[in-house]
């Protein structure tokens, strides 16, 4: 017998939670315990009194599993709301990356030129290196990082995605 694999869909979930200790472990652990996938996860508090955090999780799985993930998350007591942005419709996804590139001569000039094309900002520089700050959709960051790989990429740090519905209403 062989293990069967099933069709996968990518979904972006925005989750508001009570900002209490252990909540991140609870959510991350729910994913591992039930065999769900986390492609990226970001979290930061979003309320004036630091009571509420927003967690954005990018996951993938068969549609029925995505629905289960949604339901299982809602079952956790500190979870206020789960919004499946992919399900809800048009939304914006953005990510920030810091990209360090080292090199001299033509490579250095080319890196700077491409950074300009991608609207990446230089946030640190030596005579032999740059750190670029780039924001955008994940694909844009992927393609920028791919280009930098040929020009002396040293390291990359990415935040993971935050997402929000387009239009006047909240999710």
């Amino acid at each position: 017998m062989h293990i069967q694999h099933r069709e996968q869909e990518r979904h972006v979930l925005a989750i508001t939670v009570d900002n209490e200790s252990g909540i991140l472990a609870k959510i991350a652990g729910l994913f591992t315990a039930r065999g769900y996938n986390i492609d990226s996860l970001t979290v930061a508090d979003i309320s004036e009194n630091h009571n509420v955090s927003r967690i954005t999780i990018v996951t993938h799985g068969p549609p029925a599993v995505i629905d289960q993930i949604h339901a299982q998350l809602e079952r956790l007591v500190p979870v206020h709301k789960v919004s499946d942005l992919t399900e809800l419709g048009p939304h914006v996804e953005r990510e920030l990356a810091l990209v360090k590139v080292a090199g001299k001569g033509d490579n250095r000039v080319e890196a700077l030129r491409l950074a300009d094309v991608y609207r990446a900002k230089v946030v640190d520089s030596t005579t032999e290196s740059f750190i670029f700050e780039i924001t955008g959709a994940p694909e844009k960051i992927d393609s920028f990082v791919a280009l930098m790989r040929e020009l002396g990429l040293v390291e990359v740090g990415r935040t993971g995605i935050v997402g929000m519905m387009r239009g006047v209403n909240g999710a």
Binding site: M1, A25, A33, E74, R75, V77
Partner: protein, 581 residues
Amino acid sequence: MTERSGADILMDTLVEQGVEVVFGYPGGAVLPIYDALFKDNRIRHILVRHEAGAAHAAEGYARSTGKPGVVLVTSGPGATNAVTGIADAFMDSIPMVVLTGQVATAMIGTDAFQEADTIGITRHCTKHNYLVKDPADLAATINEAFKIATTGRPGPVVIDIPKDVQVASAPATQSEPRSRFNPPTTGAPEAIVEAVAMLAAAKAPVLYTGGGVINSGPEASELLRELQDLCGAPLTSTLMGLGAFPAQNKAWLGMLGMHGTYEANMAMNRSDLVVAIGARFDDRVTGRIEDFAPNAKKIHIDIDRSSINKTVQVDLPIIGDCTLVLRQMIDEWKSTGASAQNLAEWYARIDGWRARNSLAYPQSEEEIMPQLAIERLFELTRQYDPIITTEVGQHQMWAAQHFHFFSPNKWLTSGGLGTMGYGLPAAIGAQLGNPDALVIDVAGEASIQMNIQELGTASQYRLPVKIFILNNEYMGMVRQWQELTYESRYSNSYSDSLPDFVKLAEAYGWKGIVIDNLDDLDAGITAMIEHDGPVIVDCRVAKLANCLPMFRSGASHTDMILYGDEAPAAITVTAEQKASV
């Protein structure tokens, strides 16, 4: 302003919550709470012999009374020993609040003596858990914990309390109560309308009910009977749902699933409408998902939205409490003047399946067949309306098949987690909650040894629980699977070096009875009932009896092995079947 210690706040809050009994075991990190208990006679503490026993006793108490069970254990091993019972309560949706001691706040994370990450360990087997760092938060936390444990889909909640928080004091006025947990209660009205229309239109409906009906309270069982009476549909229950519907009713199909009756599984399979009420389409119920009730529309009533479409896709989900949804459906049925289809033909087909007599078993002149022992136990105890607990294995399934239940909260068994060692402590908890009831743990000789130390607890508190052991000298269900799937290679399933159960009973101040031939069966059971005190009955039954009917794990629910079929060993077993649990 007056101040109280954390331990005193804890006691007062438990009393305010109506807690009468706490099951526990002391230790270093809960000494301040035990000292508060010592001075306080409002709460009765039951000293168990092992923390697993405390958790299962709390489950038995909860399941038989409808009230939440409360557990008090120390840090480290106290908490980890309780984990099996917590996980069991989580799987079977049993309301429970577990108070665990923890090392002092400043010691957390230093690998202190008897330190364990209780919050981390119990995170995924509790409905919620807390580490309380300030006694001022204790009352609000405990109050919220009870609300979470008892409302919505019930379950266990752990409150981990460091020792310094038990000692430190806080003002008598407490932090604001929280009200963030508000599960749904009534079903969506349009869904109720649709459900009733579907039920009235069905030509071959089945009501499939589970533990949710029991958890929802006795009224849900009353309403279930009323709805069944209105719509006339035949009814089957899961292992956890037994007792919600009276077994003598002609609509009763018996339990469904792996060891359910042939008629229950066939009726599910051939039905045109399945109404699942507080049941969760467990794999032991469905068998192979692709073959499960393929032509039936499915309505799923459940308070937990995550149960919907988890394993079986349904046509109409209704999220709400069973009691309220059943009442909504009854009201809708009556107000629209709905009437059921003529189900005579459907019942005739069911009678055809019933005629297979799927609970039949081989008769013996010499040995006591375990099924017969359960039948006699049922007949001879029936007039006492007993509470039955079980361990896990063949004896559990035989009890589910051959003991019959007529009202809820009388049948306590570990369904989801399948925990051997559940039955004795659960019987102790049930006896405490129902002092006048006849409480019997139907056990196997292997399972009973898993929490055998709790004999002492029953002795100490003069609890007249009865243990009825079906002793076949095997972990019978393991042996049966080995016979059916592994060509009778009985790897480690023989119960060697068994204790003399009679001497063991006597050592603990219990009465011990051996039943080892057919002629003594009734007399032994009667002696057990009549003894005013705890009794172990060592009932020696046929060693190699199989629990039938059954469908194999991963097989279709119609593909049942019945007594009288060809020798099971001749059936080919595939790798897929070996891989299914």
